[in-house]
């Protein structure tokens, strides 16, 4: 059986995110002043035949950089 997972990787709260800040600036310039903050991260869509627990494992090992990022796994 093949399962699908969405892994979302975002900069940790205390880590600065210049990319998100720059995108926020341009959102404001584009006429979206109501936006308060943007954090920019990465996402991965994974299909696996195996143990779902191993998805968190591989996210930690391969997808996110634990020093600056946190991640979340969601079954789809």
């Amino acid at each position: 059986m093949t399962d699908k997972y969405l892994i979302t990787v975002l900069p940790k709260n205390e880590v600065s995110d210049p990319q998100g800040e720059a995108i926020l600036d341009s959102a404001h310039a584009l006429g979206y002043p109501e936006i308060r903050s943007i954090r920019a991260g990465r996402s991965f869509l994974i299909e696996t035949d195996g143990d779902p627990n191993r998805i968190a494992e591989i996210s930690d090992k391969l997808l996110a950089n634990p020093i600056v990022e946190r991640f979340e796994v969601k079954a789809l």
Partner: protein, 760 residues
């Protein structure tokens, strides 16, 4: 909130100790202030009296360096050194380390290292034109720790994987940052040795061009001047290890940890352009970047150099994070921030320039009479410190030094113990394929080395990179070198070799070496052996720079590079600057049609050689010191030969000896070679022996007499080795290899070692 009230009952060291101060230093602070310092004040002393800001352990040693000369416009003491290029323009350059941050987070560590050194350059009013990187990593094959070479794909060896992760992260960090800002990374060095496993070295050098009449200095002048802050906001990035404020403690342990510094190259590009515009339009009186120790160091050094006082209000600092304490704001190492002094009537002009670059001008405070640094937050006074007590009164140590005991044993090398190679050709191919000597194109192709249209394409991958200077006839040449293998045996000689090699490299590209910058990477100076290494290295550098007339105009010291008591080898990185009379003289290493000559009186030796290390797994022998008179003769010969159009290509004989040098020339020129090497008692010495004082040049047949004459004129040796051409590399004695094999050797070494596809 009262900072002491909620102090948790944990077994903490006293604050001063966590800040790296000694008991004696703490007592001294109390006597300087006439009272106990508060937390913020102690934090300020802690960073200002750290090695990084005060050079307390190295200052005495460094004071002996030659720092003046006919070209020098600015020696050490400012953000970077400045050298006269021509009547109107000057070259600004400096090297800096970012070792520790790169070890923790290689990508961001290296990226922010690039950002920091670029800010030093443009804070002087110079437009950066080039970057160089000197990188040292652990042995990717982990000789000694794991016998087997890890498989190419999906290696599971954690140690060797660590090196690959570091290499990938560091190179990508430098690339992404430098490329985005648009400064070409044009040269560097990449070395591997087991002793750097826990402590990789990332030294980055930047070079810029500034009109001589617009050199900016970081000294506050003009009482009443406004203190202008611009660039990125201040966050908790890189705050000094210890955090104590009960305010932050309440937020939980997680948030207290100092965050990794994150680079923002786009912001850097904006502050670069804005800073140059501010200076060009004469809107600012002084500029200083906020580097290590951020706002503390920049404000206090500005006031110190200008012999003024300064008052700033932390409530006006733009913050990235909520509820930051004064301590955190003062010590934050958020990147891409600048501090300037602006006289009030120019404020609007400065603000308009910043607005053009989508930045705000933050007015933090004022330059005051007297010598006091006052830090307020609104009406509350957070710190009040006499500026000289932070700078001039900073401690000056002379740690004990001792020569290591086992040194003589390592210096001994008995050639009788070393079997001569049966198949020198196979040795050559192995050397060319090794991480130490393989092609570095995998690295420099990730760097935009051409942006700016200043780089002489033919000098990329050669001894030194040449950059023309728009608006001048002249051009500059730059190279970084450290001779750490030799220095591990004899730090003083190693330092001299590094200076001599970098100068020779620059001369090979057609330039006169004129000045140098340096980065001292060492272990813990409180260990007598380490301090001895530092003293020896600086002495060697001093002697060599004096002899070669290349004064030191700046540099950086990185100490405590050790893990579990294992220090790195003493590693002195020299960044050399040379000047060419005309950019047309730029010379590369690629073989051209003509005959090959060996110039210089240096003699080959296996001491500390790559061959000895790779083939016989030994680092031993007594490396020979350079003969500086001969080095200068070689330089003169190279310059006269290149300027006179006689020398069509030149390459310094370095790691791997003549055999590797010739192979590199052949590889770059995609052309064969046929030479007879000077006889030696042993073929391995003749082929792979190293040592200073040797350069290979290519001269056309018709110019042979002229080059011989030049050698006689400058009194150095010259001998014809053979000729360029054909489809084979033939070196007598012992080597005959088809060019196809030479071209393939070492081409993919880095790809195989480091390209684990898909890593983050």
């Amino acid at each position: 909130m009262n900072a002491t009230q909620n102090k948790p009952t944990r077994a903490v060291k006293p604050l001063w100790q966590e800040l790296g101060l000694t008991r004696g230093e703490y007592d001294h602070i109390v006597s300087l202030l006439g009272r106990e310092p508060n937390e913020t004040e102690l934090g300020i002393y802690g960073v200002m009296w750290s090695e990084h800001c005060s050079y307390k352990n190295s200052r005495k040693l460094l004071s002996g360096l030659p720092t003046t000369g006919s070209h020098v416009l600015q020696g050490p003491g400012e953000n970077a050194g400045v050298i006269a290029l021509d009547e109107n323009l000057a070259v600004c350059f400096k090297i800096e380390s970012h070792n520790h941050p790169s070890a923790i987070e290689p990508y961001q560590g290296a990226a922010t290292g690039v950002g920091g050194i670029l800010r030093d350059i443009f804070a002087m009013g110079a437009r950066p034109i080039a970057l160089l990187d000197s990188l040292h990593f652990g042995d990717p094959h982990e000789r000694g720790k794991c016998r087997e070479r890890p498989g190419m794909a999906g290696s599971v060896d954690p140690e060797s994987d660590r090196v690959a992760t570091l290499v990938r992260g560091v190179v990508r960090g430098i690339a992404d940052y430098g490329n985005c800002v648009g400064i070409p990374t044009v040269a560097g060095e990449t070395r591997f040795d087991a002793n750097y496993l826990g402590n990789p070295l990332v030294n980055v050098m930047a070079v810029g061009i500034v009109p001589r009449d617009r050199i900016m200095r970081a000294r506050a002048s003009g009482i009443g001047g406004r203190v202008l802050y611009y660039g990125g906001p201040t966050g908790r990035d890189g705050i000094h290890g210890a955090t104590f404020s009960s305010e932050t403690f309440e937020e939980g342990v997680e948030d207290k940890r100092s965050a990794v510094q994150i680079g923002d190259p786009f912001m850097e590009k904006k502050i670069l352009e804005a800073t140059l515009e501010l200076i060009e339009s004469d809107a600012v009186d002084a500029i200083q970047d906020m580097g290590a120790a951020g706002l503390t160091c920049s404000s206090c050094e500005m006031a110190s150099r200008g012999e003024t006082g300064i008052e700033i209000d932390l409530a006006r600092v733009p913050l990235r994070a909520a509820r930051m304490s004064p301590y955190e704001i003062m010590l934050s190492e958020s990147q891409e921030r600048m501090l300037a002094v602006v006289s009030p009537e120019k404020w609007e002009k400065a603000a308009a320039i910043l607005a053009k670059w989508d930045m705000k001008a933050h007015d933090l405070g004022e330059i005051k009479p007297g010598r006091s640094m006052v830090v307020k937050r609104g009406d509350e006074i957070c710190a009040e410190i006499p500026v000289p007590s932070l700078t001039d009164a900073a401690p000056l140590n002379s740690p004990a030094m001792r020569e290591p005991d086992n040194r003589e044993a390592r210096l001994a090398l008995h050639l009788d113990d070393i079997p001569e190679p049966a198949d020198p050709g196979a040795v050559l191919l192995r050397l060319l394929d090794s991480p130490e000597l393989c092609s570095r194109a995998w690295i420099w192709e990730q760097y935009d080395h051409m942006v700016g249209t200043s780089t002489a394409l033919k000098t990329i991958g050669g001894d030194a990179a040449v950059l023309r200077v728009h608006g001048s006839e002249k051009a500059v040449a730059v190279s970084v070198d450290s001779c750490a293998r030799a220095a591990s045996l004899d730090p003083k000689t190693g330092a001299m070799l590094a200076v001599a090699e970098s100068a020779r490299n620059v001369a090979c590209s057609g330039a006169l070496p004129v000045a140098a910058t340096n980065c001292c990477n060492f272990g813990n100076p409180n260990r007598p052996e380490i301090y001895w290494q530092l003293a020896q290295s600086i002495e060697g550098m001093s002697e060599a720079c004096r002899a070669l007339d290349t004064p030191i105009t700046g540099g950086n010291v990185s100490l405590y590079n050790e893990t579990d008591g294992e220090a790195i080898s003493p590693t002195l990185t020299i960044g050399m600057l040379g000047i060419l009379d005309a950019s047309a003289h730029a010379t590369g290493i690629a073989l051209q049609a003509g005959n090959l000559f060996l110039i210089g009186s240096g003699a080959p030796s296996l001491a500390a050689s790559e061959y000895l290390y790779q083939e016989h797994h030994r680092i031993a022998g007594r490396p020979a010191a350079p003969d500086f008179a001969d080095e200068r003769a070689i330089q003169k010969l190279l310059l006269a030969g290149i300027q006179g159009g006689l020398i069509r290509a030149a390459h310094d004989v370095s790691l791997g000896g003549i055999a590797v040098t010739l192979a590199e020339m052949a590889r770059a020129g995609r052309m064969g070679i046929r030479v007879d090497l000077p006889g030696a008692e042993r073929t391995d010495v003749a082929l792979f022996g190293e040592g200073p004082g040797r350069v290979i040049v290519v001269v056309e047949e018709k110019d042979e007499e002229k080059i011989m004459e030049l050698a006689r004129k400058f009194a150095t040796e010259i001998r014809k080795l053979g000729e360029a051409g054909g489809g084979e590399l033939v070196m007598k004695p012992g080597i005959r290899i088809p060019m196809s094999e030479i071209l393939a050797a070492g081409r993919d070494t880095f790809t195989k070692l480091f390209e684990k596809r898909g890593s983050r």
